[in-house]
Symmetry: C2
Subunit: 431 residues, 2 copies
């Protein structure tokens, strides 16, 4: 099978190197050799030795090269990459991509063209790097009605939260280290504000529930507002704070949300630390399952790219395209479950309220919560004084509609003894 | 797609029920309805309502029924089940089975016939129940040279070890409870002596390394000799005792072994408790990954059976059989790596030596270990006296050839101050 790699950055060079190093084993599995006949990139990458492989800076040339059977798009971005992929499909080529933004935002259009042209567009590498979780959802769990999934799907964010917990460090401090280590970009917005995770969650949810890709409807909240004391108080209550992408099937719709979350420390996913990724998936037949591994890195991501290539080769060997639909469901069977607004989500909450240490404040706060049908599960008023007579009041609530919580917090924040905004973090126990 | 279910026990009825309940979603994924047209079993099962599905006690009739496209073998055992499967294949039918003993012991013969007849024999349900780990190894990680894998692949054993640790209970005591709960069979040998795990490990290793199935060469050691104090001492050293199946690729061969193992408590797999299963897989490109979920139970196992059926349906829709070879490698490319004898395995050890509390015993033991090139990592002599002046000496060693350890222990056990056999448990850190 003759392929072209477009983009020779981290993942592109990793893919080239894995195919070169493990070519013999990969051919034994795929039933044919996978040969890189073109590499197209703006510049060479010293991390890989191309040897006799033809190199070009003309990315679009490979999409019309009659010798190329599969175009591997590893450029990133949603403009040139999209144009390249559409052109390759138009020319009857299969496509493998690691581009989560492109699939989450334009996958519908791309898959539709691919279906018309009878070619495969594979994207295992777009979510959780080398962890084959798209395959698990689309094939391995095909018997199940998926109830919910929850994932640590951004390694940068998980590294930051892990360091904050292990060493009591502040967000900004760890972010700087992550940037120095190359875990975080110079502009970290995509990672720490949850946009990258929302792209991946959008893809996971579509495959899990058979709904169209709807990135714009995902609720997204980052981790930059998490304070070291929140990490510590969560711990005292028996929880870890993780930045999760959560998708849940309701009777009348689907929840799609990325936000910091308190998770009981006894849950396996609470113990996934550092840059590692993990996705929990709960199916009605199988129950809870979990998939764990490196979510980024040259060869981990290449592992998923090459797995997609092997799928295509195994199909080509039989003279067909890959028989698994892009979103796991045949297009005519995608359902129309609506993404519900975050105000309608039901969740438990962690609250940190900074108050003047006056008698009656606790009673006032409790009264307001009660009037909004919010039950308190536990409450701690810290004795240690901070900020001139201010003390933090920490509590966990039972599950409540987000709408009610919003109303209650508006009233609480207006109390004369309450200082500033209330910190609130959602709590999920996955039981 | 018209199928027959043979065997209506726990998994058979689970499969029938999942197909009935989720039939609409499954068809949306498979691209066609999966219809159970025959159920063959010695007796009916009140757990499922067959409705108009034709029931027969003649198991072999379905294997020659021209209407049946796929035979689902859920009888268990290696005699009638084998005969049924071979007959179904001879008649050009695809086969799905959950039968690990049969695949581990007779898979070679079965796959050979299936390849000749151009049909699929699928067995995802044979390992780790509903966790799609065969698919992960065979497809999702196809880019990798697999370095090693290690799994908690027997739920009964893990339940017993978890209870022993959480509650300080004795093996026999927990086993009785497991039997009462239905987690363990009346004859628990298969589970607690590691035979069931060795069947599953044999299958995992073949798919991972592309070697023929060699169940008879797997080293198998059970958990019935684990004492509550071993669990407790392991904990004091920062370890958990897990019953693991371990397969490791060496330059000149493959390790294949099932035994109790001390695992650092910081490892994710050490935290997999109760009846749950998990398999870690380390590939040269992807690094360590982990797959977790229910390893047994009616619907969890049915989840894997039905996933195999969906794979077959998606292929049939394109007019082909499933394009993935049974053991992940094309038969002509299976390699001839030998399973190495356990004496050649290199491992660290936990040792518990019961000694007379005389001066010089520790020095004697240390001297003997040193003479066999065994380095001690840490050692604890318990003060509390047991058994009339006897004290336990607990130690962790560095990695050493099993052969050396065997020789050293024979000498130590012959010391006049050493009482009885030395307890030894292998230690793996997976780093």
């Amino acid at each position: 099978m003759k392929i072209a790699i477009c983009g020779l950055g981290t993942v592109g060079s990793g893919t080239f190197n894995v195919l070169a190093r493990n070519g013999f084993d990969i051919a034994a599995r795929a039933g044919m050799a996978i040969e890189v006949i073109r590499v197209a990139s703006r510049r060479m990458n010293p991390a890989c030795e191309l040897g006799s492989t033809q190199f070009t800076t003309d990315i679009f040339a490979v999409a019309s090269d009659p010798e190329v059977e599969v175009v591997v798009e590893l450029l990133g971005g949603t403009t040139i990459a999209k144009e390249l992929i559409l052109k390759a499909i138009e020319n009857g080529k299969h496509v493998v991509t690691a581009n989560k933004a492109l699939i989450a935002e334009h996958g519908g259009e791309i898959f539709e063209l691919a279906a018309r042209k009878g070619v495969t567009v594979a994207f295992e590498a777009a979510v959780a790097g080398g962890v084959p979780v798209i395959k698990a959802l689309r094939e391995g769990l095909a018997a199940n009605r998926i109830n919910w999934l929850a994932g640590i799907i951004n390694g940068t964010g998980n590294f930051i939260l892990t360091e904050m917990r292990d060493k009591g460090r502040a967000f900004e401090d760890v972010l700087k280290e992550a940037q120095a280590l190359g875990y975080a970009e110079a502009d970290p917005t995509f990672d720490v504000e949850g946009i990258d995770a929302a792209h991946k969650l959008t893809i996971l949810a579509s495959v899990a529930f058979g709904i169209p890709l709807q990135f714009k409807r995902a609720y997204t909240e980052g981790i930059s507002a998490i304070a070291p004391e929140d990490v510590q108080y969560a711990e005292e209550f028996g929880y870890r704070i993780k930045h999760l992408g959560i998708a849940r099937r309701l009777e009348h719709g689907v929840e799609l949300r990325v936000h910091p979350t308190l998770v009981p420390e006894t849950q396996l996913i609470a113990k996934v630390d550092g840059v590692m990724n993990a996705v929990m998936v709960d199916g009605d037949a199988v129950g809870p399952t979990l998939y764990y591994g490196a979510g980024a890195g040259a060869e981990a991501t290449a592992s998923a790219v090459v797995a997609d290539l092997v799928d295509i080769a195994r199909a080509l060997r039989q003279g067909v395209a890959v028989g698994v639909p892009s979103l796991g469901h045949n297009p005519e069977h995608l359902n129309d479950l609506e993404v519900v607004p975050v105000e309608d989500v039901v969740s438990a909450y962690y609250l940190r309220i900074l108050v003047q240490d006056h008698p009656g404040v606790l009673a006032n706060v409790a009264q307001i919560l009660s009037e909004h049908s919010i039950n308190i599960e536990s409450i701690v008023q810290k004795e240690s004084e901070q900020h001139d007579g201010l003390i933090p009041m920490i509590m966990l609530t039972h599950r409540v509609h987000e709408k009610n919580m919003n109303h209650a917090l508006a009233v609480i924040e207006a109390l004369p003894d309450v200082v500033g905004k209330v910190t609130r973090i959602r709590v999920e126990s996955f039981s």
